[in-house]
């Protein structure tokens, strides 16, 4: 097995775990962790693609690294915003449930 295949399989596993968590975990914080795991899978895949050197003649393609660091910052910002919202939600309602409140008639 080449190192690229290993990377790709790891990426698949991470994306799969993340997807499962996003679907099955009811708590928003767990969903957020699942999102980060899934995102990491995508990042690993991107890193492996850089090793393949899509641009000719280089040992590794530098462009994915530049994009990757941006994507990581975006994911970090998303995580921060979501956690802030979650903290406010718990402060306001004493519950972290995403389910609809019973309809007001």
């Amino acid at each position: 097995m080449t190192i690229e295949t290993l990377f790709a399989l790891t990426a698949c596993a991470l994306v799969g775990i993340g997807l499962y968590g996003l679907i099955a975990q009811p708590h928003p914080l767990r969903k957020l962790v699942a999102f980060n795991i899934m995102g990491s899978g995508v990042f690993v895949l991107f890193g492996a693609l850089a090793k393949r050197g899509a641009a000719a003649g280089l040992p590794a393609d530098p462009v994915p690294q530049a994009l990757l660091i941006t994507a990581i910052v975006v994911a970090f910002a998303a995580t921060a915003v979501t956690v802030a919202l979650l903290v406010r939600l718990i402060e306001a309602t004493d519950s972290a449930s995403l389910a609809d409140a019973p309809p007001r008639e």
Partner: protein, 579 residues
């Protein structure tokens, strides 16, 4: 463009950078200057931004091709280019106009009364309005798929806090659902972009368009990106976050979310299918967005007719109208399955998007004004509203009329273009959806009109005064939507499109639509005419309405929505691969 050839910037290209920078500069300046100055900064920037958009439009009219600006002078594939073609310029102009309208409206809610202190809600609102504007401009002019990813994320981060400006538990929950589901969409989009980079070594859109081959990696990438963007646009059945978010936010924020924010991800689907991947997409796969759109129109409209609150009615009408925006995709293909009707489909889509942006902003503002004045927005208790708030109610009804496709609204011309494509390509089934969608829109206009013009049982007491500027801003946007096709044929579209617009045949369409709408109301609404329930006389239809509501509740739960997201991605990929 041939591979290896370097791109150069065009004259007027720097205006594109200015259009993106201006709102963000305003945002940062406002952040530094503080809440007392921020509304003033915003009010200086709005006409400036509109001016930049107009300058871009005039530069585009003088140029032969799209305007191009190379960031730092670096050409793709290594550098990043900003580009503006006709569709982007139209969207830039429309968004600038709508932002100005919403800004004028929001002065009433979030403006600084003399002597009043700073408020956190107002401070956040103006910052976020500018951020949404800048992010949208970036979506329209971005030339590569990764910059677009960043732009879409900016748009989401600006949109989510707008949902929970009020800070109540309900709105915070809506915001949290929105951001979590949007993040799922962004991961899928990013995965698709990564696959494309792996396959073709570039993310620049014109370079990709030349390099893409109909092969599995391109199918997978297009399917993943499409599904992710559907989730961000809230196309049925991925709309779990939209009704509580748009229905719960303050009116000035709902207008931004419903009119503007969802257009960003929709525009990107349009770009992907029609500009980047015409060689990969096929007519069979293009039926999927439109089929989901048709389901959105039916479900969104029926559930809208069954709402008890005006703002939720408008929010569900957005669910339906989003469906309408996706009907153009199969109609870009001719009878032989080639993408020859692309230009028509793009024009119709952009027209429909602008028509919806202006009309829906006006309608949300009107709903907000009704709420502010009456202290509630229960649809059954709206009697007398027309007399109390004539301008706001007129804005709501004119907006509804424009969305129905009354001559000479933007929706009318969009529908006409798409009906023409449906006829030439032999896809008669979309003709039914296009006309049926207009009838459903007529339905909820009729539903509201029946109530606001009634005499109230008792004279309306303690009406709160609402800002006249806000009312006129709402009406102005609605009227802009109603007159949009005149502007379109004055601008880029051929004038003969409107040649027969005022003929008896076209004008007769309106009473027919109203009749169909009234029938739908009579059949499906909770209480068609009055506050009393008329359910006993029509058990079958009332049951149908309840069934739609139950179906809507089911797909708005988290796990079904996530599974639907994966199913949409899988189906899209399967249809693409099957050809």
């Amino acid at each position: 463009m041939a591979p290896g050839e370097l791109l150069t910037g065009t004259e007027g290209g720097a205006l594109l950078a200015a259009a993106v920078l201006l709102p963000f500069v305003g945002m940062l300046a406002g952040l530094l200057l503080g809440g007392r100055w921020l509304p003033r900064v915003a009010f200086v920037l709005m006409p400036l931004g509109l001016g930049v958009a107009l300058a871009i439009a005039s530069a585009r009219a003088d140029a032969d091709g799209p305007l191009v600006y190379l960031l730092g002078g670096w050409s793709p594939p290594l550098g990043i280019a900003l580009r503006a073609d006709g569709a982007a310029v139209a969207m830039l102009l429309a968004v600038a106009g709508v932002v100005c309208g919403i800004g004028a409206f929001a002065r009433g809610d979030f403006g600084l009364a003399p002597g009043a202190g700073e408020s956190r809600g107002a401070f956040a609102y103006w910052l976020l309005l500018l951020a949404v504007w800048g992010a949208l401009n970036l979506v329209f002019v971005s030339g590569d798929l990764f910059t677009l990813y960043v732009a879409l994320e900016l748009l989401t981060f600006a949109g989510v806090p707008l949902v929970c400006l009020a800070g109540s538990g309900e709105t915070l929950r809506a915001a949290l659902r929105y951001i979590l589901f949007a993040l799922c969409g962004s991961v899928l989009y990013l995965l698709g972009a990564v696959l494309l980079y792996g396959g073709y070594g570039t993310l620049d859109m014109p370079l990709l368009a030349g390099a893409l081959q109909p092969e599995p990696i391109a199918y997978a990438a297009l399917a993943l990106m499409t599904a992710g963007l559907f989730a961000k646009t809230a196309l049925f059945p991925l709309h779990l976050w939209l009704p509580p978010a748009h229905g719960g936010a303050p009116a000035a924020a709902s207008a931004v979310l419903s009119a503007l924010v969802i257009k960003g991800s929709w525009f990107l689907v349009l770009r992907l299918w029609l500009d980047v991947m015409p060689g990969v997409a096929n007519a069979a796969a293009a039926q999927l967005p439109a089929a989901l759109g048709a389901a959105a129109i039916v479900t969104g409209s029926v559930v809208a007719l069954r709402q008890q609150r005006l703002k939720l009615l408008v929010a569900y009408s957005t669910v339906a109208q989003i469906g309408y925006l996706f009907l153009l995709f199969p109609l870009a293909f001719d009878a032989a399955g080639d993408m020859t009707l692309r230009e028509v489909a793009t024009s119709a889509g952009v027209l429909q998007a602008i028509a919806h942006a202006t009309a829906k902003a006006g309608m949300f503002m009107a709903a907000g004004l009704v709420y502010a004045a009456l202290g509630h927005d229960r649809i059954d208790d709206l009697a007398g509203a027309a007399k109390a708030l004539p301008v706001a109610v007129a804005a709501f009804l004119v907006g509804g009329l424009a969305l129905m496709g009354a001559v000479p609204s933007g929706a009318y011309l969009a529908k006409k273009l798409l009906l023409g494509s449906a006829a030439t390509s032999g896809q008669w089934w979309w003709t039914w959806v296009l006309q049926g969608g207009a009838a459903f829109t007529a339905g909820y206009v009729v539903l509201v009109a029946l109530r606001v013009f009634r005499r109230p049982p008792a004279p309306l007491a303690d009406l709160k005064p609402v800002s006249a500027l806000s009312q006129w801003a709402a009406l102005g946007l609605a009227v802009a939507s109603l007159l949009l096709s005149l502007a379109a044929v004055w601008g880029p579209l051929p004038p003969d499109l409107l040649a027969k617009a005022f003929s008896l045949e076209e004008l007769a369409m309106l009473p027919v639509l109203f009749g169909a709408g009234a029938l739908l109301v009579a059949a499906l609404a909770r209480s068609p005419l009055t506050g009393s329930s008329g359910g006993a006389a029509r058990p079958g239809f009332a049951g149908l309405g309840t069934a739609f509501e139950a179906g809507d509740r089911l797909v708005r739960q988290w796990a079904p929505a996530m599974l639907a997201l994966l199913l949409v991605a899988g189906t899209c990929g399967w249809l693409l691969a099957r050809g």
